[in-house]
């Protein structure tokens, strides 16, 4: 298992290092804008999947109100760590109540 883990880690690292090995002169403004936009789409996609998906199914459970609360708090400029902890508390609370 240890060998499998090391090989898989090298495979993942290959992507990470690749981005640094591409010569700067190949990185056009277009590619730079693309990589900025990739950051936005991937983050947004992660939020959505993490909130609404459970094993290949769409599910509206305790995570939805938790994310709603998080969005309101971020809009109110509440500090990051506080928002994350409160989101966890909201989800945990809803689950405690049986949702």
């Amino acid at each position: 298992m240890t060998l499998t883990v090391i090989l898989a880690s090298l495979a993942v690292f290959s992507w990470k290092i690749l981005g640094y090995l591409i010569p700067q002169r190949w990185i056009t403004t277009g590619i730079r804008l693309f990589s900025e936009r990739v950051t936005v789409v991937l983050m947004a996609a992660l939020v959505a999947v993490q909130t609404f998906v459970s094993e290949n199914q769409v599910e509206f459970d305790a995570r939805v109100p938790a994310l709603g609360v998080a969005a309101i708090l971020f809009a109110l400029r509440v500090p990051y760590i506080l928002v994350v902890i409160l989101a966890a508390a909201v989800a945990a609370g809803f689950r405690l109540l049986g949702f």
């Binding site: 499998t4 981005g19 730079r32 804008l33 991937l42 769409v58 928002v83 966890a88």
Partner: protein
């Protein structure tokens, strides 16, 4: 600058919360402690790590586990392209910054206005997440059974909120893009294996922005 550092530590702590559930899940899957820790130290990419133990838990072959982890790691490559132009690291620093190029470090960096804050944001977040993620993995692996499931503690919602906080400063001017990505990822999840729908949204980033 103080604000950047405080965000970085916060992101590290938040990620750590989720790292506990990774360690616990990996232990339940039957991985030995060394393998679990190597995943967090060497692979150091949440999505790939969860995919790896997911395949192993489902009884998949080692080569499937490696391939899944590899494919899910591709988004780090996109981050690395961005980060290389921000950091321009040389020599050993290039290897270290590559290892730290993940969702959170790039997210905090991209959320900053000036170049210096973007650099500080990357390094501080990368190091904070690395430390907290690995400590949390160890804790989860050792005490997983005792803590119960991650869902009970709302840690899955914490992860969603953590990512929302990272993309929040970038939503201005990108709301349609972010919303489309969310829809594509959720709908794609109905048909495609875990991890693929999120990657699919990269195609949306290829559509050039309308100038108006």
């Amino acid at each position: 600058m103080k604000r950047v550092l405080s965000t970085s530590v916060s992101v590290g702590v938040a990620t750590g919360l989720y790292g506990i559930s990774f360690g616990a899940l990996a232990a339940v899957t039957g991985l030995d402690l060394l393998s679990i820790m190597l995943l967090s130290l060497l692979m150091f990419s949440g999505g790939s790590q969860f995919a790896f133990i997911g395949v192993i838990a489902a009884g998949g072959a080692p080569v499937s586990a490696i391939t899944s982890a590899w494919l899910l790691g591709v988004r780090n490559g996109f981050y690395a392209i961005r980060l290389n132009s921000v950091l321009a690291p040389r020599g050993l620093l290039k290897l270290i910054s590559a290892q730290l190029s993940i969702d959170e470090s790039n997210g905090v960096s991209a959320a900053q206005e000036d170049l210096k804050s973007q650099r500080v944001g990357f390094w501080a977040t990368g190091i904070a997440v690395f430390v907290f993620w690995n400590l949390a993995t160890l804790l989860g692996a050792l005490a997983g059974d005792f803590l119960g499931s991650a869902e009970t503690w709302g840690l899955d919602a914490a992860a969603a909120a953590a990512f929302l906080g990272l993309v929040w400063p970038r939503l201005k001017g990108n709301k349609v893009l972010a919303l489309s990505a969310s829809v594509v990822a959720v709908v794609g999840s109905l048909f495609l294996p875990a991890g693929v729908p999120v990657l699919l949204t990269v195609l949306l980033a290829l559509i050039p922005r309308r100038s108006n």
